[in-house]
Structure formats: C-alpha cells, structure tokens
C-alpha cells in the first residue's frame, strides 16, 4: 500500500518536472507574453492568432485588467501590457525606465437604458452628469426632456447603475464627466473605481450592468459600445463639444481621434474637439519598455516584439473593424508607428 503511494508520488513528481521543463523550453522558444485590459482582448486574440499563422510567433495575452497589465509590465513578468488608461505619473515613476504607449484601437462607452418602448434618446452632458450624480431622479425631468422633443418620457424613477468592479470603462466615463461637469469634478473625480453617490446600485462587469438595466424599468447604466451592439441594447446619442448630438458608431468613435495627437499619444479623447466625434471615446494602448535590454532579455525576443507591434498598428488594423472595434485614424496610426520605431535594444533601434 505504502509502496504504491510512494510510486504514485514519484510518478507525479516526474510528470510535474516534465511539465515544468517543457514550459521552460517553450518560453525560450519564441512565445511573447502579454497581459492587461480585457476590453480589447477579443481583438487581440484574433490578431495574435492571425499573426501566429503568418509569422509563426506565438503570443499569449491574458485579460487580467488594465491595472494588472501595468503591474505585470513593471514587474517585468510580461513582454508587453495592455491598458485602457494612460499610465499615471506615479506608475511611470515606479516603472523606472521610459515606457511607450502604443495605441491599437479605440473604444467608446455608451449610455444604455430601459424605458417603455425604448425610444432613441438624446443626452446633453448635463443630463448624463445629473443622472449619475443622483440630482436627476425622474425620467420626465426637463433636463432630459428638453433634448428630446417629440418623445414622451414617462414619469418614473431614474435608477442609475454603475460598474462595481474597477474598470477602464468607468475610467473613460468618469474622465468625460469630469470635463463636462464641475460638480462631478468636485464630488467624484476620475478613476477606475469611484466613490459613487450613496444608495446608487453597482453591478459587476458589463454583463452585470446590462442585466440590471434589462431587469429594471427606468434603469440607466453605461457599458462598452461593443457590448451594447452585440446584445442589441438601446443606447442614446450624446451632445459633443461642437454642439451636435452624435450617435455612437465605429465611424463617430474613430472620428473622435481627429484631433492633434501628441507624439507620445497621451491624449484624452473624451469631450473631443472633433465635430463628428462621439464624446465618450478613448484609445486603448499596448505598453512596452522603450529600452528592451533588461532582465536578461534576448535580442531576438525584443525584435519579435517590435515586429509584432509594427504589424498591429499597420497590417493588423484590418482585423479591427470586423470585430466591431473602432480603428485608428491615419494620423494616430502614423504616430503609433513612429513610437514603435523608437524602441531600442542596447541603444540601437530595433526596427529599421
């Protein structure tokens, strides 16, 4: 009996050792590691799969959230991270060396609701801020009604719902509201998870918010555009800085990036100046260290990473639109390309 147990144990040990050994072997084989934002994960999976078929380089991306992506990059356990929010100055500081933010596509946040008949609604920035601050409590409030002539709004309670989990969606949404509402800026501010008004409901993830909105007459929440279109949820147009009510579409989201983009692409596209742009849009980035010679990283690995990034902001962009993401504008793609080309290995440029 005991001998048997020992045999099994030693067998398990050998199997374990084999697994470990093989994983070490495959890591030195070319497999690039990435982790981060969940929002672009379906797109990245598709891109990396296509890239692997064409160039025989495996890329393993894990959707652990933007914060996790930044952490893993700083700890140098991954080759690249993914994030929906530009790294804060504190995070840049703890990174220790310059980090490049390479935009890959754009996302947008839409306001979704549940009303009898689900009419198409227009929202002014004031209305959105008022609803989520809890100052607008009935659907027939003049602040909502004035932007929707011809729509008969019911006299029922507004039940606002936010994301309870920390998320890039909340970040973009709160960044937008901070720009358009002083009251929001003073009371709530910007962040991935916020100190929401007392008594407001929070739900976990896009599915949680969507589920609550679907279940509750009079509810209103915010979700990613992609999620709303896939689930055929009603969503409203939002008035942008130019004074037009813009319906969120791939086109109007891409158009939000038709502004002057700085060289490091650290630009916030919320409340965009672009006349045809949907105002609650933002880039999602891949982040890498500018100088790739660190932690004993081999040169061919750094080269493979740079090649992959060139492909993502170039040829790879053709996968963006079919998956319902908004592609980079020409100017943004050019800036992204320049950024990738500034990557170095021991001081020498990686991409010629």
């Amino acid at each position: 009996m005991l001998v048997n147990i020992l045999k099994v144990l030693s067998l398990m040990f050998i199997v374990f050792a084999l697994i470990c050994g093989s994983s070490v072997a495959s890591a030195s084989d070319m497999e690039l590691l990435g982790a981060g934002a969940t929002f672009p994960q379906p797109l990245y999976s598709k891109m990396f799969d296509a890239y692997n078929q064409q160039y025989k380089v495996k890329v393993n991306y894990q959707g652990i959230g933007s914060g996790g992506g930044i952490n893993q990059l700083i700890k140098k356990t991954v080759d690249f991270g993914g994030t929906d929010a530009f790294m804060t100055s504190k995070e840049v500081q703890s990174a220790g060396a310059p980090v490049l933010h390479i935009p890959t596509c754009l996302g947008a946040v839409v306001v979704t609701y549940n009303l009898p008949g689900n009419p198409k609604l227009n929202f002014t920035p004031d209305a959105v801020a008022g609803i989520f601050l809890g100052t607008i409590t009935r659907w027939n409030d003049p602040k909502i009604a004035s932007a929707n002539p011809g729509v008969k709004l019911p006299d029922i309670a507004v039940s606002a719902v936010h994301r309870a989990d920390g998320s890039g969606t909340t970040y973009i949404f709160s960044e937008y509201l901070t720009k358009v509402s002083k009251e929001w800026k003073d009371k709530i501010g910007v962040g991935k998870s916020l100190n929401w008004p007392a008594g407001q409901i929070g739900q976990k993830g896009n599915p949680g918010v969507a589920g609550y909105v679907k279940q509750t007459p009079g509810a209103i929440g915010y979700v990613e555009l992609l999620y709303a279109t896939q689930n055929k949820m009603p969503y409203g147009s939002v008035r942008n800085k130019a004074g037009k009510f813009i319906e969120p579409t791939l086109k109007s989201v891409s158009a939000a990036a038709n502004v002057k983009i700085p060289d490091d692409t650290n630009v916030s596209l919320t409340d965009t100046e672009a006349a045809a742009g949907y105002p609650i849009s933002g880039f999602t980035w891949l982040i890498v260290y500018k100088e790739q010679k660190y932690g004993g990283k081999a040169k061919d690995r750094a080269e493979a990473l740079a090649k992959l990034l060139v492909w993502i902001v170039g040829d790879g962009q053709r996968y963006v639109e079919p998956l319902q993401y908004a592609p980079l504008s020409k100017e943004a793609a050019a800036k992204a390309n320049t950024l990738v080309r500034s990557m170095t290995y021991d001081g020498a440029a990686l991409v010629k």
Binding site: G65, I70, N195, G202
Partner: protein, 317 residues
C-alpha cells in the same frame, strides 16, 4: 467532539503499533511520519496565508492603522479608505441570513431526523438538500437576479421604499437558501443520534411527540445543532459571487434592510483586478480583517459547542 475522536484513534494506533512486530513497525512509523507531515503542512499554510496578507497589507496598515475599522469613506480617487461599511455589510447580511435560515434548517433536521428517518420521501428530501449545497454560487446569483430581484422590487414598491430590487434583504435571502443545507444536514445527523431509550423514557411518562422533541431531542442535540449553525455562518460570511450580484455594491453604511450595501468579500472580488498601490494594499487589509472575523467566528463556535456539550452531558447523566 473531534478531539475525542482523534484521541481514540491515536490510542488504537498505539496498541496496534505495539502488538504487530518487526517489519510492519517501520511502515507504521513512516505512515505516522506522513500523517504528521501533512498535519503540520496545514498549519504552515495557514501561517503562510496570514504572513502574506500582513506583509502585502502593510502600506495600508501603516497609513490607516485602526482608523480603518471606523472609516466610512472608500474612495480610490483620493486614496481614502475605511472598511466600516463592508464590515457592517458582511455581518448584517450574514446574521440576517442566519436568522431567516434557522427555522427552516431546524424544521428540516427534525423532519428528517425524527419523523421520516427512512423511506423514499426521506431519501429524496435528503438528496435534495445535499444537491442544494453543491450548486455553484454563481447559479444562485443568477437565479436571484432573475427571480428574487423582481420579487423584492415588487415588495419595495408596495411598501414605498426605493425599488432597487437588490440590497441587503435580497442577498440575505439568497444566502439563507445557500446555507440551509449546511446546518440542516448536520442537524439531521445529530438528531438521529439521540438515544432511543431517552425518548422512550419520556414517552412512557406520557410526553407527547412535540414535548419529546422540545424537551429531549433538541436539548440533547444542542451542541451539534449549534455547530451546524456556526458552519452556516462561516459560509455566509465568506460567500462572494452570489452576494456581489445581489447586494448592489454600494460602498456606504446601509440605512435599512432594503438599502444597497457591500460586503468584504465582494469588494475584494470587485476591485482587486484593477487596483494598484495603496488601493490594492487596502483591499488586502480587508482580506486580513475577513480572515480574523472568520477565525473569531470559528473560535467562538468551538467554545460554545464545547460548553454546550459539557452541559448537556451533565444534564443527561
């Protein structure tokens, strides 16, 4: 109770070890060594968890200290963290759930342990209770979202409070259903263990069935019933997924049983993935608090059971 069991086991081992000579003696030793090793491994794991939590929570402990327990604001943007709303939310939902579940679990234990010990109905009911224990909590959460939430909202509209549908009451209801199997199955077992001659003696004195249950069965099985209830409480305190889906995740002190709130387990599950720096440390600080709360419940439980079993053995003898 568990103490006595392991003691007799130890005695058995000893006498056997001495009576069997030669070669088996060595395997006996080896066996005992493996047992001791796995036993101490558990203690080591517990310590490792505690140390990891302490070390990773240190930035937050340094910054907030004991004010963490009375702070009411949880704000990641200004990095102000206080865990009182979550502490209250956890205890409120767990104890409310316990209160709701006790009558049902007690009824089920008596029904299965005293009235229908055998037979098809009993077997069916028993396995139904056991299946209830095995259902993943996310399924409870979904069911609550689709059925319980509209029902609670209907009640809320009738009595005129804000009709959220989610909040303390909804999550306590789902928790109470989730924890019934734990107290019910243990309760059933201890009730079947009540000696027949005790009950027969009571019957012979002219007691009715209800009187027997009230005066003989429940007092005798008291420690086991309490153990079941405490097991259920532990489960309710740590439950994450179903509660997150139904509590409304509002980081404020609840004002009534209808208001949305948040629990320690669910705030960790919600926010940890995107947390960095002090926020992450504060979430781990909450985990540390949760660790101690469950530990206190467990220690208090063992103490109560110990005390009750001594009392009941005194009463019986």
């Amino acid at each position: 109770m568990s103490g006595t069991v392991s003691n007799t086991f130890q005695d058995d081992m000893d006498t056997q070890g001495k009576s069997i000579p030669g070669s088996t003696d060595r395997s006996e030793k080896r066996f005992r060594f493996i047992l001791a090793l796995s036993g101490s491994l558990i203690v080591l794991l517990l310590l490792a968890i505690l140390v990891t939590l302490l070390v990773t929570a240190l930035p937050s402990i340094k910054e907030f200290g004991l004010f963490f327990f009375i702070g009411k604001v949880w704000d990641a943007t200004t990095e102000t963290f206080g865990a009182l709303p979550f502490l209250v939310g956890t205890l409120f939902t767990s104890f409310l759930a316990l209160l709701i579940s006790i009558p049902f679990s007690l009824a089920i234990s008596i029904f299965l342990g005293e009235y229908f010990k055998e037979g098809a109905i009993s077997g069916f009911l028993r396995s139904a209770v056991e299946i209830l224990a095995g259902i993943p909590s996310v399924i409870y959460g979904l069911w609550g979202l689709f059925l319980l939430m509209p029902a609670v909202r209907f009640i809320e509209m009738k009595i005129g409070v804000a009709p959220h549908g989610v909040g303390i009451l909804t999550s306590s209801l789902i928790l109470s259903i989730m924890i019934i199997p734990f107290s019910a199955s243990l309760g059933r077992e201890v009730i079947t263990l009540v000696p027949g001659d005790l009950k027969e003696a009571a019957y012979s004195l002219g007691a009715t069935r209800f009187e027997v249950i009230k005066n003989i069965v429940i007092p005798y099985a008291r420690s086991g019933l309490t153990a079941g209830i405490l097991l259920a409480l532990g489960r309710a305190i740590g439950e994450t997924m179903a509660v997150t889906m139904l509590i409304g995740n509002s980081n404020f002190l609840p004002t009534s049983i209808f208001s949305p709130a948040n629990t320690m387990a669910s705030v960790i599950a919600n926010e940890f993935a995107e947390a960095t720096g002090v926020t992450a440390a504060s979430l781990i600080y909450i985990a540390l608090v949760l660790f101690f709360v469950t530990m206190i419940v467990n220690i208090a439980g063992t103490y109560i059971i110990h005390k009750l079993s001594i009392e009941s053995s005194k009463e019986v003898s």
